[in-house]
């Protein structure tokens, strides 16, 4: 097996190389086939074999679990051979390869974005394909992965007491994924973050605005989820915020009076 590969690899006879590559492909020895196809591809460019080489090479990479390469080659295939009967299959497999290449939510999601756009363009190109339903399912799954990523990062900010960052991150996440399944939880987290920020981490001048933000967030949560499981906790936070707001305003009035008193050059009460 190895000797056959070495012989083909060293050969300058392109037909022999291609034949050996096809044999390895048929035998399921994809790693060998991939190497030989890539060596011989440029010699056959423009011939009838070129399409087969590209397709087989993509398929071999797919079978060998080199999804990133397979995705790229399948895409190359259906773009250059749109009339080929294998084009639809290639477009689906390209999108599917991108999908498979998408990593866990807590790693870089560049592949996920490519996968979503590839799946979408497959659906647009072949709306009648029996694979459309499946492709739509994958898109949903990937979007949920991105939702989870945004949600978990926002939670890290909350956990490390970066409440300002957490509130913005939760709100951005809710803007970006309005129908997320984490909506209720994220809204509650946003409320908790805003509450903490307003009550425990604010200077006097910023307090009023932040109390208001907290109260607004409470309203938003109850409007979206009147029966929310967090109702008790949310109401408690609201009550504390309103109390603090009253106190804040009393202090503000006193400060004003004091200022006036100083201005009038009479002793304060």
């Amino acid at each position: 097996c190895n000797r056959r590969y070495e012989r083909a690899m060293k050969s300058t006879d392109k037909d022999l190389i291609l034949q050996t590559a096809n044999e390895f492909f048929a035998e399921g020895k994809y790693a060998f086939a991939i190497e030989l196809y890539s060596k011989v591809a440029s010699s056959f460019s423009g011939t009838d074999e070129a399409a087969n080489i590209l397709y087989n090479s993509a398929e071999a990479n797919f079978q060998d679990k080199n999804y990133r390469l397979a995705a790229h080659q399948f895409k190359n295939f259906y773009v250059t051979n749109p009339a080929d009967p294998r084009a639809e299959d290639a477009a689906y497999k390209s999108a599917y390869s991108y999908y498979t290449d998408s990593p866990k939510y807590n790693l870089d999601q560049t592949s996920t974005y490519s996968a979503m756009s590839e799946l979408q363009s497959f659906i647009n190109m072949f709306p009648e394909s029996p694979n459309v339903a499946q492709a739509n399912g994958y898109i949903d799954e990937l979007r949920q992965k991105l939702e989870k990523k945004a949600f978990e990062i926002a939670k890290i900010y909350h956990k490390t007491m970066k409440f300002k960052a957490a509130a913005i991150a939760f709100d951005n996440m809710l803007d970006e994924y309005p129908d997320t399944k984490f909506r209720e939880e994220a809204m509650m987290y946003s409320l908790r973050s805003k509450y903490e920020l307003a009550l425990n981490y604010s200077r006097f001048e910023t307090e009023e605005l932040r109390f208001q933000n907290t109260i607004t967030q409470h309203k938003l949560l109850l409007k979206a989820f009147p029966e929310t499981k967090y109702k008790d906790e949310a109401d408690k936070l609201l009550k504390k915020t309103e109390e603090a707001l009253v106190k804040h305003r009393e202090t503000a009035v006193k400060i004003e009076e004091h200022k006036k008193a100083v201005a009038n050059n009479t002793p304060a009460k």
Binding site: S42, D48, N106, L107, D108, M161, A165, I168, N172
Partner: protein
């Protein structure tokens, strides 16, 4: 009739298409395209493709509608060109029948490369060229390809100082196959040309030497200095000419210009450069006004701006002080650090009276910007939370250039990403005064496998070490994450085994940089076991075993500032002697055991940076206190009559250590490191005295000697390394080691190169230190002094290497002569 023609040297030039109307389509001129159906296409010319293939290349179909002239036919030609298969493509109209048009394509195929031969280029470089231009068998030999190869070879030699490189292509057809060719590339690099002389004319204010040194940095005159290679590279020469003008501008000669410059080839190997400058006259700064500032007062701005009325008008320096200083000490950075990302600062020359220029710095402050979306990409291995918790640029924070830099250092410091590829991608949104920030990252492996054999300590030693710098314990039980080991949670795990004749050592350590909680708290643990055995002169077995374990917690503080770390650790060591003659200080052990259980609390502040190998700013400071339980108070034993072995079965002591070093960039790249350190080993009970373990040994670089007894080796250059028990003729450490020491260092460092592969710096030092066995002898300023010079080379594969020549001015304890010159080799550690 020829309809369209293009030739190879033009890649795609659509507007050069010629239309030669035939008698049948005379009324279908350029301005009036007509639509036909493609009847058929004939192919003529020398090529090996079938009609179907050619049609596929063009994208045309028989029977499809065509406009003549029109975009479809243009695109078809473009596509044919793009295949890079043909050297010539012509389209003719063969005939027209009604609305059917019959076209003929005349194609000339390009030869295909079979064998390639490049002469006159080094083998490795040859492969680079082949890779760069994909010169593999089967590629079509186009003129374009030949031009590209020629240019890249010529450029390569030009950069090396060979301006006369000749590249010849010799193509020979393969017998029996006209479509194939062998290609031979002959390269003759010619003579290496050096710059014999650079002459300036018309310069009075700056001497030739100053201009050459400061401006002509990449165009250097031939000299005996081996490292200063002299070559003439036109584009770098042009840049250097601009630097000449900048030099003048920076001393106020704002009208300076280069009147002429001539480059003369005096002979094959040499050129001479003559540069004529016109200096003009110096200008001075008049009144400086700031307009539009409300965030900072004019006084604050003046302080940062630093130029004052009456100074020479340094146009270059003024621009830098306004924005774009490398050191980030400009006005723009001042605003950026307060979040004013959208601020604009513009120096405007208000008036020029004689030689005085009034300057107005116009400021438009804008609103402060905060981060909105903060993301990161490229973390293929490292999990989000490891990165998110390090960020100092969080949503809602004010935009700050300084914090971006600090985050960059901290991300680089993790060791999981390629430091050079960390890039903050800043996307300002002026409409709502926010910034989106994406940290672009690229994975770097932080695992090491160490497998080595070597001769050391009189025996052959084999070492096997595994270090995983970005381990993930949580993923240990998930099968699919073992590729090859679970990674991405930023934990570090290290396993090491070392064995030789009569010696074994095993160690395990694990660190979790953030065990949870709200502030970064690191947990580290380590366990080790060492065994030494030999047969003594009577043939009996002698054994020493050391087992130890440490658990520590260290927390980043937010007060007094966030560079501080507080650490706690518990540590235990047990020494077992079995007929093993070991000298610890002045005591000899044979049988028995000694235990050291202690608690250490330490406070460190480390802000040195940005490069940990060659810090140019910041400081490192630490204080630590180690204590053991006061056994003698608790157990009521009479220590005055006790045997040494029993006395030291459970070591009791306390130890205080402190050090502080500062780094500061002085003039240019010269960096000053200064600071000092001290240590004190004390006892609770005078009847026991200071323990013979854990003592201080001063001198040399401390590479030698074993450390069975927990000793601390304090380097002091200019003196010999401390011996096993101290107190010899060469030692500056008293017999049995010191219980108190202090040391002061002053070092000047100059970077020679700070490249990616190797960092090299030279240093000169003056230091002084001493150690005493007893506090009552302690005289903090009766020190042993030394001075000298040295070099350090840092390569990531080897760590720090270097040597110092130090002169010791004072004598060793039992010697009346000064220590004199000493040579020190430095391996693996930092000074």
């Amino acid at each position: 009739t020829l309809l369209f023609a293009q030739n190879d040297s033009l890649t795609i030039v659509t507007d050069s298409i010629q239309v030669v109307p035939t008698q049948n389509i005379e009324d279908a001129g350029y301005t009036n395209p007509q639509t036909y159906t493609l009847g058929d296409m004939d192919i003529s010319g020398e090529n090996r493709f079938t009609k179907t293939q050619i049609l596929r290349f063009t994208g045309l179909r028989i029977g499809e509608e065509l406009e003549i002239p029109g975009t479809k036919i243009n695109n078809a030609l473009k596509k044919l060109w793009r295949t890079n298969l043909f050297s010539d493509v012509d389209v003719y109209v063969a005939k027209i029948e009604g609305n059917k048009i019959f076209l003929r394509l005349n194609l000339v195929g390009l030869p295909e490369l079979v064998e390639l031969d490049i002469n006159g280029v080094k083998k490795s470089k040859r492969e680079d060229f082949i890779k760069e231009h994909k010169l593999d068998p089967g590629i079509k030999i186009t003129n374009n390809l030949k031009n590209q190869v020629r240019n890249s070879i010529k450029n390569h030699f030009l950069e090396k100082g060979y301006p006369d490189t000749k590249v010849d292509f010799i193509e020979s057809e393969v017998p029996d196959d006209k479509t194939k060719s062998n290609l031979k590339i002959n390269v003759n690099r010619g003579e290496r040309v050096k710059i014999k002389r650079i002459e300036f004319e018309g310069n009075k204010e700056l001497r030739d030497g100053q201009l050459k040194r400061k401006a002509m940095k990449d165009t250097k005159q031939k000299s005996i200095n081996f490292f200063r290679s002299s070559k003439f590279i036109p584009h770098k020469y042009n840049d250097d000419l601009k630097k000449v003008i900048d030099e003048y501008k920076s001393i106020g000669f704002r009208d300076a210009k280069i009147v002429s410059d001539t480059v003369i080839r005096t002979d094959n190997k040499n050129i001479e450069i003559k540069i004529q400058v016109e200096e003009g006259r110096p200008y001075y700064l008049g009144n400086i006004t700031f307009t539009g500032n409300s965030v900072f007062t004019t006084e604050q701005l003046e302080r940062v701006f630093s130029y004052q009325k009456g100074d020479r008008y340094d146009a270059v320096g003024i621009q830098k002080r306004v924005s774009g200083s490398e050191k980030d000490d400009d006005l723009n950075t001042l605003y950026m650090d307060r979040g004013y990302l959208f601020s604009r600062l513009l120096p405007v020359e208000k008036s020029v009276k004689n030689d005085t220029i009034d300057l107005e710095i116009q400021i438009s402050e804008g609103e402060p910007a905060t981060y909105n979306k903060v993301t990161f990409s490229g973390n293929d291995v490292t999990h989000d939370h490891v990165i998110a918790r390090e960020l100092r640029t969080k949503p809602g924070d004010l935009f700050s250039k300084t914090e971006i830099k600090r985050t960059l250092f901290e991300l680089a410091g993790l060791g999981y990403f390629e430091p050079t590829q960390i890039n903050p991608d800043i996307q300002p949104n002026p409409e709502n005064n926010t910034v989106d920030l994406n940290w672009e990252l690229a994975h770097k492996s932080s695992s090491q496998i160490e497998l080595q054999g070597g001769y050391g300590a009189g025996t052959f030693l084999g070492t096997l070490g595994l270090t995983f710098g970005n381990f993930s314990v949580a993923n240990m039980f998930k099968g699919e994450s073992w590729k090859p080991v679970p990674m991405g949670d930023g934990q570090s795990l290290s396993l090491r085994a070392q064995a030789g004749r009569g010696y074994q050592n095993y160690s395990f350590s694990f660190t979790e940089p953030w065990i949870g909680g709200r502030r970064p708290t690191a947990l580290s643990t380590s366990i080790y076991y060492s065994r030494y055995n030999y047969r003594d002169i009577n043939g009996e077995e002698a054994r020493l075993g050391i087992i130890g374990a440490t658990v520590g917690l260290s927390q980043l503080l937010t007060w007094p500032d966030d560079w501080f770390r507080l650490s706690h650790s518990f540590s235990f060591q047990k020494y077992n002697f079995d007929n093993y003659a070991l000298t610890i200080g002045e005591y000899n052990y044979e049988n028995g055991s000694s235990n050291n259980f202690n608690y250490t609390i330490g406070l460190t502040r480390n802000s040195m940076g940005p490069d940990p190998v060659f810090p140019t700013s910041g400081s490192e400071m630490s204080v630590a206190l180690t204590v053991t339980p006061p056994y003698s108070i608790l157990n009521n034993k009479d220590y005055s009559t006790m045997e040494d072995v029993e006395k030291f079965e459970w070591l009791e002591y306390y130890k205080i250590k402190g050090k502080a070093y500062w780094y500061k960039e002085l003039a240019g790249k010269l960096v000053l490191k200064m600071g000092g350190e001290f240590g004190y080993l004390g006892t609770y009970n005078n009847k026991i005295g200071t323990i013979p373990f854990e003592r201080f040994y001063l001198g040399g670089t401390g590479l030698m000697g074993n450390r069975f007894d927990g000793r601390e080796i304090v380097p002091l250059r200019g003196y010999e390394d401390a011996t096993q028990s101290g107190g010899t003729r060469e030692d500056i450490t008293p017999t049995g080691g010191g219980s108190i020491y202090d040391k002061f260092t002053l070092e000047l460092r100059y970077p020679i190169t700070m490249g990616q592969q190797a960092k090299i710096f030279a240093l000169g030092f003056a230091e002084a230190g001493n150690t005493w066995s007893d506090t009552k002898d302690f005289k903090p300023f009766e020190l042993r002094r030394s001075a000298g010079v040295g070099v350090r080379i840092f390569m990531s594969a080897f760590g720090m290497l270097g040597f110092d020549f130090g002169y010791g001015f004072d004598n060793a304890i039992r010697n009346s002569e000064p220590s004199g010159w000493q040579t020190h080799f430095i391996i693996g550690q930092q000074f």
